[in-house]
């Protein structure tokens, strides 16, 4: 296989505890640490391992967002991606719009495999990979925890509610990653320097013939309902009493 395309989203870092703005207009993201969506980092790591096994020649990391997303693409290049493409767009990009942009890139790049995270940890949508596969009319293997390639096919172990499901898909295909697929490598300083010289192509979304109009409107953002403060008990007997009082045992 010649090429793997990895889709990357810039999101609020996994460790940041987000706050809802008091006026309900959204989530406060000003000044917070931003990172590659962790599932997308796993996607990139998997692509790197496939290339290191000699099963792919080139890895193209792609993202959609403001010019700030170049930082995350630079990180992807430092991890080992060969080149990067940023489709520059302002505002909220819904999964269907993202899938349409990725389809455009897929048609230009003709990758044998597209790998991306199963969900972004900001909107938790879990849609873009499936939508890209549908628009592309190609197979999808979502929630992958194991992936192997041979004879133009991918065998994928998927984490499903009932356990582990194995499926086989013909390439090209879209794979979305689950947590246990791999553990992404750390970026080394010399690689950060090298990444500065790798190509990062920035294209305005308006140049693509893609409808990016959002379909949904978010009219209010609220903090979740809080649970009432509980009680502490000192021993097992008191715990059993408390459970009996609530009629749970």
């Amino acid at each position: 296989m010649q090429k793997i395309m990895v889709c990357i989203k810039r999101v609020v870092d996994y460790n940041v505890r987000i706050r809802v703005k008091p006026d309900g207009s959204g989530v406060a993201t000003e000044g917070v640490k931003m990172s590659i969506n962790p599932f997308d980092e796993i996607a990139l790591e998997e692509a790197l391992r496939i290339k290191e096994r000699g099963e792919a020649d080139e890895i193209v990391a792609v993202s959609i967002g403001t010019s700030d997303a170049q930082q995350q693409l630079r990180t992807a290049l430092a991890m080992g991606a060969d080149r990067a493409i940023l489709v520059e767009a302002e505002g909220e990009i819904e999964p269907l719009s993202a899938a349409r942009i990725f389809l455009d890139l897929v048609q230009q790049e003709q990758p044998g495999l597209v790998i991306l995270g199963k969900q972004a940890i900001d909107d938790d949508c879990n849609q873009t990979g499936q939508m890209l596969a549908a628009l592309w009319d190609r197979p999808q293997a979502t929630f992958a925890s194991e992936l192997s390639l041979s004879d133009g096919k991918a065998t994928v172990t998927r984490e499903v509610d009932a356990g582990l499901e194995v499926m086989e898909v013909e390439l090209p295909a879209v794979i979305t990653t689950d947590l246990r697929l791999n553990e992404p490598r750390y970026v080394k300083l010399p690689d950060i320097m090298k990444a500065k010289k790798k190509p990062l192509d920035v294209r305005p979304a308006a140049q693509l013939d893609v409808d990016l109009t959002p379909q949904f409107s978010v009219i209010q953002t609220d903090p979740p309902a809080q649970r009432e403060k509980g009680i502490m008990v000192s021993d097992v007997a008191a715990l059993v009493n408390a459970l009996q009082e609530k009629g749970l045992i």
Binding site: Q127, T155, R158, A162, R180, L243
Partner: protein, 315 residues
């Protein structure tokens, strides 16, 4: 007026309870009717169970020439075909629905709403973002179908007292052959199902080994409870992945949730927010799990859990 199609989840022989939860969600706004579509190879028992869900008008069993197993790429064209004539197409926010519904939406050329947790009206819904740390109210356009997944932990299953008619139809959509189901591997267990159990006992990293989970299994058996785990315990290989509770695992809403040796990372708490009563046992009194626990007990789990099991056996 609205008309809702619900995509049934099943394993070929039994209807998954998530389907009846979607029906409850669909019935929380005015509509002309709620129908269930059964796709893929399924015994008559699946359609019959769907017909018994209260509030269902019609069950449509779609037969297609494909033995591909529950493969989204094969099911999606069939769902999209049947979706014509419906204002809403819902599936459960289980791995089945999450895999399938976005593909259906894209085939219909519409966006998809994930994890509906409350309905304000036929085109206004609430859903969680940021691992449940914020709840957004979203409006969907009225001139195109609403394709969505329903957060099953937010809804009770509609009762099984209905008597809907069952129709059979053939799929006309052309189905791809590029995707093939190979096998499902699951650890067989006699314990209640984690997603639907009234009581759940969960263990975390502090259990320290697969063998040590035995003390949890004993407690679970005493309470007739399901067993769950934190991501840390699954990553460490103490238990299989299907036991993981949290943002990327299962979102559950049992009457009783007992978290043992689980510190309570935000991603885990997302999975248990709707539990009736949360009990936490942890040796670290500063553990975040105590912030959400209704009943907390600080101490050594290896001493306290067998003690609790013994006390419950006596009572």
């Amino acid at each position: 007026m609205a008309r809702v199609l619900i995509v049934a989840e099943h394993n070929g022989s039994a209807l998954n309870p998530s389907t009846a939860k979607c029906v409850t969600c669909a019935r929380s706004f005015p509509s002309d009717g709620v129908d269930i579509g059964v796709f893929g190879a399924a015994d008559q028992a699946v359609a019959n169970a769907a017909a018994m869900v209260e509030g269902v008008d019609k069950v449509i069993q779609v037969s297609a020439d494909s033995s591909a197993g529950p493969v989204a790429a094969v099911l999606a064209p069939q769902v999209a075909e049947l979706a014509a004539g419906y204002s809403h197409v819902f599936g459960p926010s289980t791995t089945f629905g999450k895999d399938l519904m976005p593909r259906v939406a894209a085939l219909l050329g519409v966006g998809q709403l994930s994890d509906i947790m409350a309905v304000d009206g036929p085109h206004q819904f609430k859903r969680p973002i940021y691992a449940g740390n914020a709840i957004v109210t979203v409006t969907a356009p009225e001139d195109r179908p609403v394709v969505a997944t329903v957060r099953t932990a937010s809804y009770q299953a509609s009762e099984g007292t209905g008597s809907a008619s069952v129709e059979t139809t053939d799929a006309n959509a052309s189905l791809p052959t590029h995707s093939r189901f190979v096998e499902l591997r699951s650890a067989s267990s006699d314990r209640p199902d984690l997603q639907t159990a009234a009581k759940v006992i969960s263990g975390g990293r502090a259990l320290a080994s697969a063998e040590n989970f035995d003390i949890l299994y004993k407690l679970a058996d005493t309470l007739n409870a399901a067993v769950g785990a934190s991501r840390a315990a699954v990553d460490a290989g103490y238990v299989p992945n299907e036991l993981q509770v949290g943002q990327t695992g299962k979102i559950i809403a049992p009457d009783l949730y007992v978290a043992i040796g689980i510190s309570g990372a935000i991603q885990h708490l997302t999975g248990i927010k709707d539990a009736g009563t949360i009990v936490a046992i942890n040796k670290d009194e500063e553990a975040p799990i105590f912030e959400v626990a209704d009943i907390g007990l600080v101490g050594d789990l290896f001493k306290l859990v067998p003690e609790l099991t013994a006390a419950l056996e006596q009572s």
